[in-house]
């Protein structure tokens, strides 16, 4: 598909996205997304998981337009919380607190909020334009990918999320294996063999992804918070309407434009979404700034750049999810599950088979972004009021919606019990530092990975070489080997360096 072709598809997409019904879903999505982003304790992944059952009553286009609104809206709202409260809930918003909160404390909260909101808008816009330009090309190139290539890329996703995220690989792998085990429950896709069902009839269909996602994200989080609930929540700093003066604009426009260049590529690879690019953007802005001494005390560049990178990384995430069927963040993993529940398989063929849906979704990203800017700039003080919601209601509400959603999946009481068990697993994982994303990815992607592996081995008649017979898969395995070997290499390098400079103290960590 060439550029002109994708532009005309995009115009058609706007036609669909701007129909009154779809504008309403986009508006609902960004409203919910912003509210959820602002509300403490709820991240976009939990929000999308809780809303999965609602989509059973919607057509796919409407559902994905709403999901995309929630994803982007959550990013906008999350920075409000970290600037005004200094206790970021989403990892993507950690960096916003570094400079944004000191700004709010020194009475420049309005400027911090504006720099963040416009940064999200700029990053989202540039990121989505990159998505429009690159996605069809990636899809076209990926059409020739075979079973072995898909298996390789899924293994890469597993290894990358367990190795890059968090600070303990063993715990990452433990989480991944828990997810893979949950994904295996049910009838084997190729032979119909019962696995891990223990002759329970309801388990033969497997554990629905909604139950897994809601259990790990919603129940797990609510119970974990309940275990350590802060009895007196922090008071948010009161703030006026966001605005920027000329001097601030001069300092922020370059970070806004630089952020997406860092954010988009990192969103597209399985490296944990917005966490790494926001830190990289922060470091870059600190290095390039003429006001380096202000960093740590409220430098506006440190809000503008990372926030722009965060939104662009969301667009990069969508690029991988739509063109390769590869979720790189928790939200994308849950969205992939939603696609599958409609019988749609994201991947290179998506742009051919579901062209209308994909382009309507992409067009709605632009529509949603415009809505978000309007919603967030003048209304920020109102959103900030959400920070005062009584915590018992907030977490009781999460438990309530989780139960309703899980029951709506199949009308089974047993699903509620499984939901609670998975929720308790989620609680333990948070307590002992096991990252949640590998488990969700394992449960959602595990069955697909197994299927691709067995297909590849069927083609090669059982010979293991069937997994390595394309240049692409060999390249991916080389990359995996590099990721696995990296800490060892680093340790050796450090030892060599220490020997080269005797007596020098090498910082650990």
């Amino acid at each position: 598909m060439d550029m002109a072709n994708s532009l005309s598809s995009l115009v058609d997409g706007f036609g669909t996205a701007l129909s009154p019904g779809n504008v309403m879903w986009a508006a609902l999505g960004v409203l919910l997304g912003t509210a959820i982003g602002v509300l403490p304790g709820i991240g976009p992944a939990m929000a999308v998981a809780l809303l999965l059952p609602v989509t059973y009553g919607l057509d796919p286009t409407a559902a994905f337009i709403m999901f995309a609104g929630i994803y982007y809206g959550g990013m906008f709202g999350g920075s409000t919380t970290s600037i005004l409260l200094n206790t970021p809930g989403e990892t993507a918003a950690v960096v916003a607190a570094l400079e944004g909160h000191p700004m709010a404390r020194s009475g420049r909260g309005a400027q911090a909020l504006a720099a963040a909101a416009i940064g999200h808008f700029a990053g989202g816009m540039i990121g989505t334009i990159l998505l429009v330009v690159l996605a069809p090309t990636i899809a076209e190139w990926a059409v020739d990918m075979g079973a072995a290539d898909y298996f390789a890329i899924m293994v890469l996703a597993f290894v990358a999320v367990t190795s890059v995220l968090g600070n303990s690989r063993v715990r990452g792998f433990a989480s991944l294996l828990i997810g893979l085990t949950i994904g295996m429950v049910g009838l084997d896709a190729l032979t119909g063999q019962q696995r891990l069902t223990f002759d329970v009839l309801q388990l033969a269909d497997g554990i629905d992804v909604v139950i897994v996602a809601v259990g790990l994200f919603a129940i797990g989080e609510a119970l974990w918070v309940a275990l350590h609930l802060r009895r007196r929540p922090d008071r948010p700093i009161p703030v006026g309407r966001p605005w920027l003066g000329r001097a601030e604009l001069r300092r922020t426009w370059k970070p806004w434009l630089r952020g997406p260049l860092i954010g988009f590529p990192f969103g597209a690879i399985p490296a944990g979404g917005a966490e790494i690019p926001t830190f990289l953007s922060y470091a870059t802005e600190k290095r390039l700034s003429r006001h380096r001494d202000e960093f740590g005390k409220g430098a506006i560049e440190g809000v503008a750049g990372p926030e722009s990178a965060a939104s662009a990384s969301a667009a990069g995430t969508l690029a991988s999810m739509l063109t390769l069927g590869l979720p790189t963040t928790a939200v994308a993993a849950v969205m992939l599950a939603a696609f599958q529940s409609y019988g749609i398989q994201p991947g290179p063929l998506l742009f051919e088979r579901e062209s209308e849906l994909v382009w309507a979704l992409i067009a709605s990203l632009f529509v949603g972004m415009a809505m978000l800017l309007v919603l967030n700039l003048p209304l920020a003080p109102i959103w900030a009021k959400l920070l005062r919601v009584p915590r018992p209601y907030l977490y009781a509400g999460i438990l309530f919606f989780a139960a309703v959603g899980a029951y709506a999946v199949g009308g089974e009481t047993l699903d509620l019990v499984i939901l609670l068990i998975i929720g308790l697993v989620g609680l333990l994982m948070r307590r002992y530092g096991l990252p949640v994303l590998p488990a969700v990815l394992g449960a959602i992607l595990g069955p697909a990975a197994e299927l691709q592996m067995r297909r590849a081995l069927q083609i090669s008649d059982g010979s293991v070489s069937g997994l390595f017979d394309t240049p692409f898969s060999v390249g991916v395995y080389a990359l995996i080997a590099a990721i696995v070997a990296w800490p060892l290499v680093r340790r050796v390098l450090r030892r060599v360096r220490r020997r080269a400079t005797p007596g020098a103290r090498v910082p650990r960590g």
């Binding site: 609602v54 715990r171 792998f173 119970l223 309703v404 059982g462």
Partner: protein, 167 residues
């Protein structure tokens, strides 16, 4: 260093190792009880993946145990409403789990509007809310509105229970 209890309390993460060990044994046990030769299509059957995952679970359980014994600790997750300095309030968690299971038992006989409202009120109470007029009101409105949204507007059937038959 007196007695085994403080030693274990300090290393409670070993419980995670035990869970992984049990899970691995469960997966491998399931592989052993499968009748694979019924319909084995292709060289790699339905047992390959569980075998790999099961063995990996045992290995990771062992590696994690070694890490914990050498002083490694998983870092508990922080958050806006989380105060890690406070000791864990397991009573609240157990009560919430009880309220949640209560809803699972009651949802079919009572219907979602009634059981859901009870669950919301119960959870809010467990979490420390004591507004005896406002709490049940919010619970009832939320529960009935959600029921109407799912059942009537979205067309996803939920049990209404006797209450909804009267209305």
């Amino acid at each position: 260093m007196t007695g085994i209890r403080p030693w274990l309390r300090e290393r409670s993460e070993l419980g995670v190792c035990a869970l992984l060990l049990v899970l691995g044994a469960l997966v491998l046990g399931d592989v052993l009880t499968m009748d694979v030769d019924i319909e084995q299509r292709g060289p790699v059957g339905p047992t390959t993946m569980p075998t790999v995952v099961g063995v990996a679970l045992l290995v990771v359980a062992a590696l994690l145990a070694v890490d914990v014994l050498r002083g490694g600790r998983g870092e508990a997750e922080g958050g806006e409403d989380i105060d890690l300095a406070a000791p864990g309030d397991w009573r609240t968690v157990l009560l919430l789990a009880g309220v949640f299971l209560g809803n699972a038992v009651l949802i079919e006989p009572l219907g979602l509007p009634a059981s859901g409202a009870l669950m919301f009120w119960g959870s809010a109470w467990v979490l420390g809310s004591r507004a005896y007029h406002r709490d049940p009101l919010i619970a009832a409105v939320l529960s009935v509105a959600t029921y109407v949204l799912f059942d009537s507007l979205l067309g996803i059937p939920l049990p209404g229970g006797p209450l909804m038959e009267v209305l």
